[in-house]
């Protein structure tokens, strides 16, 4: 395959990549100008729908299709909420975009708002991205001064205000209705759906929630067209009738035990093995990989023998991981205990469960307690079965919780046990090996 030329990351690392002048010198906002003058909102929606773009936040829902769920002829207001909560562990692709090229994201926000007829957009950003928040605020201020935001943008009848809204360090705010509740000033408890946000979202008005990377893709789809977008990535898998294809570029985050942790933009469908070996510089210290998280903690854990899966929306599911998730890959080497990895993941979910649904609140707590006792060397033979049973029963798929983050808490547990069972069983017999395990942090 020929070397892929980055699109989303092409400006990153250049001097002046953050300011409006640099962005305009690179052709920025020309697409917006053309779209506002030549195309209707429906035409923009249709072009995004035809491109096959799927949301980059984790669930992979088709973006254009989501936009069409808005009520037809609604008198407004309609809101766009940009979900830059990005709290899925090991994920930082949106942070890089917002910190280094905020105008690219902002142009996407304006285009999407035009398509869905939103006149107000809220940029919800997690507290931990202070630098990104300040870069985005600066970009918004520059855009107002340049007539790209506010009343009658570029002399058209389209008006838009964009406001930055900061979170307060809670994972659940990345769930789209949790985000909306948080924006409204309430505790971030996800809502029961339906109604979906497109019908009744922020402030009880129709609302679209999109991820910054998704919106950055919109700019390029409007600039280069549907055919260009569909020439990148992977068409639908004929063996999976529910696969809508994985078109376009994707930002992959690589972290953990690799020589070169970082971010890389590639066409969808790169294999996990290529990502680690070619783009992550291989496993550190000359060791071998034991396994990986293919797309953020929620997607589950897979062993090295399954590294040949393509990282598209369909690939991780073929080895019974939850999905592509955020495409954030974390590698752990063969010196790492699977018990330590699972303990870390369980601790995260027990800490971050919002407490609304009993199966998740209690389930994540008990899964952590059981993994803790295994890790201390006090595990019981039945513990693995109990863990699997709990993990199978919490979530939106078994129908016991309001949001899908509970599924994400169960998936690492069941995949770890199913794919690494012999190691767990031997650990149950021998207990922890001295000197190689991660130290336990203090309880919060």
């Amino acid at each position: 395959m020929a070397t892929y030329e980055p699109v989303l990351l092409r400006r990153i690392g250049r001097p002046e990549c953050q300011g409006i002048e640099g962005y305009r010198a690179d052709g920025g906002y020309k697409t917006l100008e053309r779209v506002l003058k030549e195309l209707t909102s429906e035409q923009v929606t249709n072009q995004v729908k035809d491109s096959g773009l799927r949301g980059r936040g984790g669930a992979g829902f088709p973006t254009g299709l989501k936009w069409t769920f808005l009520p037809k002829g609604h008198p407004g207001p309609i809101y766009l909420c940009v979900n830059c909560d990005e709290s899925e562990p090991c994920t930082f692709n949106n942070r890089v975009l917002v910190e280094k090229d905020p105008h690219q994201v902002l142009e996407g926000i304006i285009l999407a708002s035009y398509a869905i007829r939103a006149t107000t957009a809220y940029f919800y950003i997690r507290y931990e991205y202070g630098h990104g928040m300040r870069q985005m605020q600066k970009a918004i201020d520059e855009a107002y001064s340049a007539g790209l935001l506010g009343k009658n943008i570029l002399g058209t009848t389209f008006s838009l205000d964009v406001f930055v809204h900061r979170g307060a360090a809670a994972y659940i705010c990345g769930e789209e209705t949790g985000l909306i509740e948080s924006l409204e000033g309430k505790r971030a408890w996800p809502r029961i759906k339906p109604p979906f946000p497109a019908i009744e979202g922020a402030f009880r008005k129709p609302t679209i929630v999109n991820n910054p990377e998704t919106l950055a893709n919109v700019v390029h789809i409007m600039e280069r067209g549907v055919d260009w977008f569909k020439s990148i990535g992977v068409p639908p898998d004929p063996k999976n009738p529910r696969d809508a294809g994985s078109y376009g570029p994707k930002l992959y985050c690589i972290s953990g035990h690799v020589n070169k942790p970082g971010i890389v933009e590639l066409p969808m469908g790169v294999t996990l093995r290529e990502l680690v070996e070619k783009h992550g510089g291989g496993v550190w210290k000359g060791r071998k990989a034991k396994g990986a998280i293919p797309g953020g903690n929620s997607m589950g854990i897979i062993p090295e023998s399954e590294f040949d899966i393509p990282l598209d929306f369909n690939g991780p599911g073929t080895v019974k991981a939850l999905g592509l998730g955020t495409a954030a890959v974390t590698i752990f080497d063969d010196q790492t205990s699977i018990v330590d990895v699972l303990h870390n993941l369980c601790r995260f979910f027990a800490h971050e469960s919002c407490g609304q649904c009993t199966p998740c609140r209690e389930g994540t707590g008990w899964m952590l307690k059981i993994v803790e006792r295994i890790r201390r060397g006090q595990g019981r033979r039945e513990d693995l079965d109990i863990l699997e049973e709990v993990a199978d029963r919490i979530g939106i798929m078994p129908g016991t919780t309001i949001c899908g983050l509970a599924d994400g808490a169960g998936w690492p547990v069941k995949t770890a046990i199913r794919k690494f069972r012999p190691e767990f069983e031997s650990y149950l017999k021998t207990g922890p090996r001295q000197g190689v395990r991660l130290q336990m942090a203090q309880a919060h």
Binding site: P77, E86, S87, E88, P89, C90, T91, F92, R95, R126, Y127, E128, Y129, G130, H131, D161, F163, V164, H165, R166, G167, A168, A169, A170, Y171, S182, L183, E184, G185, K186, R187, A188, F203, C253, I254, S255, G256, H257, P261, G262, I263, I293, N297, A328, T330, T336, V341, N344, L345, R347, F348, H351, E352, C354, L438, Q439, M440, A441, Q442, H444
Partner: protein, 185 residues
């Protein structure tokens, strides 16, 4: 691990007098036009108050509620949902040091870093140094995984705190730097 009992005992600190400074009230009022409901200003208002006072005292909860036409219980409900905000009995130091403990950082040694930070500062996780300069917090994934193990000072990431000596350096720098917490909004 035991800690020298030097972290701030907040009950010995004098209470913070109200009401809110005029400039904070004005900034809260200026945000109202951004949202169709007053309640939506809850989080921004809490940020503004905590940035300034290093906690959100009970009287400030009542004052925010008054501005936003809410019951103080509604503001407190939101505030207490996020472990982020502190009440007067548990106020923050001038700076907050967060040490990430999630997977990407843990794989590169973060758990022992948190312990080291705790030892160097002489406070448990969540505690504040007796001179009021630094509060130590653990964090779930900061989103700085390419620079693991990562920390955060207030809301700015610090990458590659890869060993004990770098943590020692970071703590030293923090204790001797002039306080200047980043602004909330």
């Amino acid at each position: 691990m035991s800690h020298p009992d030097t972290h701030v005992r907040n009950r010995d600190l004098p209470p913070i007098p109200g009401p809110l400074p005029v400039e904070i009230r004005e900034r809260i009022f200026s945000l109202l036009r951004r949202y169709p409901s007053k309640q939506a200003v809850t989080l921004p208002a809490l940020h503004l108050v905590q940035d300034k006072l290093r906690c959100v005292p009970r009287w400030a909860v009542e004052e925010i509620a008054d501005i936003l036409d809410l019951s103080p219980a509604e503001v407190h409900d939101t505030m207490s949902f996020y472990g982020f905000f502190r009440d007067e009995s548990d106020r923050l130091g001038a700076r907050r040091l967060w040490v990430c403990r999630s997977l990407a950082c843990a794989l590169r040694g973060a758990d022992s870093l948190l312990e080291k930070a705790s030892e160097f500062l002489g406070v448990p996780v969540g505690g504040t140094t007796s001179d009021g300069t630094v509060t130590l917090e653990l964090a779930e994934c900061l989103g700085a995984c390419e620079g693991a193990p990562a920390c955060m000072i207030d809301d700015e990431h610090v990458h590659d705190i890869s060993d004990e000596s770098r943590m020692r350096e970071l703590v030293h720098r923090l204790r001797n730097a002039p306080a200047g917490p980043a602004s909330g909004q």
